[in-house]
Amino acid sequence: MIAYVAQRAGQAGVLLLLVSLVSYGIMNAAPGGPLAVYLHNPQVTADRIELLRHQLGLDRPWYLRYLAWLAGILQGHWGYSYYTGRPVLQMIAERVPATFLLMLSAFVLAIALAFPLGVFAATRKYSWADNLLSFGSFFAWAMPTFWFGLMLQLVLAVQLRLLPVAGMHEIGSASPLDLLRHLVMPAMVLGLGSIASWSRYLRSSVLETLGQDYVRTARAKGLPDRRVRRHVLRNSMIPIVTLMGLDLHVLFSGAVITESIFGWPGMGRLFLSALSNRDYPLQMAGLMISASLLILGNLLADLTYAALDPRIRYR
């Protein structure tokens, strides 16, 4: 096990280097560029842009800039944002708490609802309730996030005045309850998609497992229903674990549309502005951290498989 993890860590190092090189290269080859923002500002004249190009080092070839960036990273310097002049790591770090809170809430909400809904649907296969859940799930998946977000706002916040429209805190308030009230709608909107997809996967896997020989055997042997159910659930978890592993990095990188609709100061908005401004230092930092978490998430999923199903071994 330890040897396997060490081997994966080694692969991750090579992979991250490759990701950084490829990303830096194609980002620079893409049309646009960091100075485009200034080009669309009537106040910023051509001579300023020319000077900024030089000051930001954009007049050097991209591979030299990449090497400089890489040398910086290896010494722990992540660079400064082109636009705010602030250290990118600081800009990222200050978003972590809000992002993590929102994403984790949605994650927990999704787990809490997806499992019962998925198992329920599987046990009542092809009933009206199951079909209704299918429709509901795919409706949740088909409608754009902004639609759910704005509808919730209109009903719960504007009409009924039950919850605040947007933001993270009421002015001057720091109470946890206030935070929770602001969290409800974005977490619901965000959790919806995961509830829909996880519950469908779970339903399908449970149905599949229920048909397996050993489950029939267990039932025939008169094993109590609860123990059978636990076995079935355990063996139906693999696709969900895969999806969760793939989604781990999202806990860090946020969800831009939900954040924009609810004015939540999360990572998604930071990275979108970095992307649309071509703020290379910020973009690269975000990319590297996300990539690391993605690799970690997939590794954790692989380890979880082995725990769920003892037959899974990695050579």
Binding site: S134, F138, W141, A142, P144, W147, Q212, R311, R315
Partner: protein, 298 residues
């Protein structure tokens, strides 16, 4: 869009691979009520997109700005959009691109995902490591820039083919991991051991013995992938990497409705409902396929 049903293609192709099991499956599939519903809905949706000119007298692109945002009426059953185009016509014609993109991107992504995932899961070891690191790479690097570069080369726009290619080539990773995990679990089962003992080749084991048992998550993924590709198409349009704004797709119809969700709610709900119906149909068909392939159940 007059092609036969995509999923049926898959079923029939599968049928050819192994008569006994697959023929049985096909017989079961036809008995499935939800599947019949799914086929009917998908057929109707595809037909209405293909036959749109027969179903509506309106053009989906001709503007009539002086009659914009009209509520539903006898003349315009779904009202008109913000530039006075008949919304029903937009939804009908919108299916052409959306169905093409959604179904083909799903098929392409599924084909790559199943192939790579099953090989990685069955072989394990370095093959597995290599394929899975490829998954990590594809998921980690900002593919959107690659598209941007390609589009710049082609003069500013992604034709549908390029978009399908993009969505398919970058949309297989999740499925590959799901399939591989199933294989990791299934390859050590008794029926695989016995098939091996009987001298079955690797290809035969991978596709004839294990694949039918790994179909459950694949078929769910297929349904979500259809919806995912349709919405991703709209996102690409919005970012300026996709189709021109006058070409209707279900995705961009919804995006364009954002400002009118209170005044003209139908503009968002109508395309949303069609996407839902289509995806549910794909899911029901998949569900029936899973049932049909499951030799043990019932």
């Amino acid at each position: 869009m007059a092609r036969p049903l995509a999923v049926r293609d898959a079923a029939e192709a599968a049928l050819a691979a192994g008569p006994s099991l697959w023929a049985l499956a096909w017989a079961r599939f036809r008995r499935h009520r939800a599947a019949v519903f799914g086929m009917a809905v998908l057929g109707a949706v595809i037909a209405s997109a293909a036959l749109a000119p027969l179903l509506t007298p309106y053009s989906p692109t001709a503007l009539d700005p002086d009659h914009s945002l009209a509520p539903p009426s006898h003349e315009h059953p779904l009202g008109t959009d913000d530039l006075g185009r008949d919304e029903l016509a937009r939804v009908l014609y919108g299916g052409r691109v959306s169905l093409l993109v959604g179904l083909t991107a799903m098929l392409l992504g599924s084909a790559i995902g199943i192939a790579l995932g099953s090989v990685a899961g069955y072989m394990g070891g370095w093959t597995d490591a290599l394929v899975m690191r490829l998954v990590d790479l594809v998921l980690s690097f900002p593919a959107i820039f690659l598209l941007l570069i390609l589009i710049n080369w082609t003069g500013g726009r992604a034709p549908v083919v390029m978009m399908v290619g993009y969505l398919g080539l970058f949309g297989w990773t999740g499925l590959a991991r799901i399939v591989r995990a199933e294989y990791l679990s299934l390859r050590a089962r008794e029926f695989v051991e016995s098939a091996r003992a009987l001298g079955a080749g690797a290809g035969r084991i991978v596709f004839r013995h294990i694949l039918p048992n790994a179909m459950a998550p694949i078929l769910v993924q297929a349904a979500f992938a259809v919806a995912g590709a349709m919405l991703a198409e709209a996102a690409l349009d919005f970012l300026g990497f996709g189709l021109p704004p006058e070409i209707p797709t279900w995705g961009n119809l919804m995006t364009q409705a954002e400002d009118y969700i209170t005044t003209n709610p139908i503009l968002a709900i109508a395309p949303g409902a069609v996407v839902t119906l289509t995806v549910v149909a794909v899911f029901f068909i998949g569900d029936a396929l899973r049932d049909a392939l499951d030799v043990r159940s019932r």
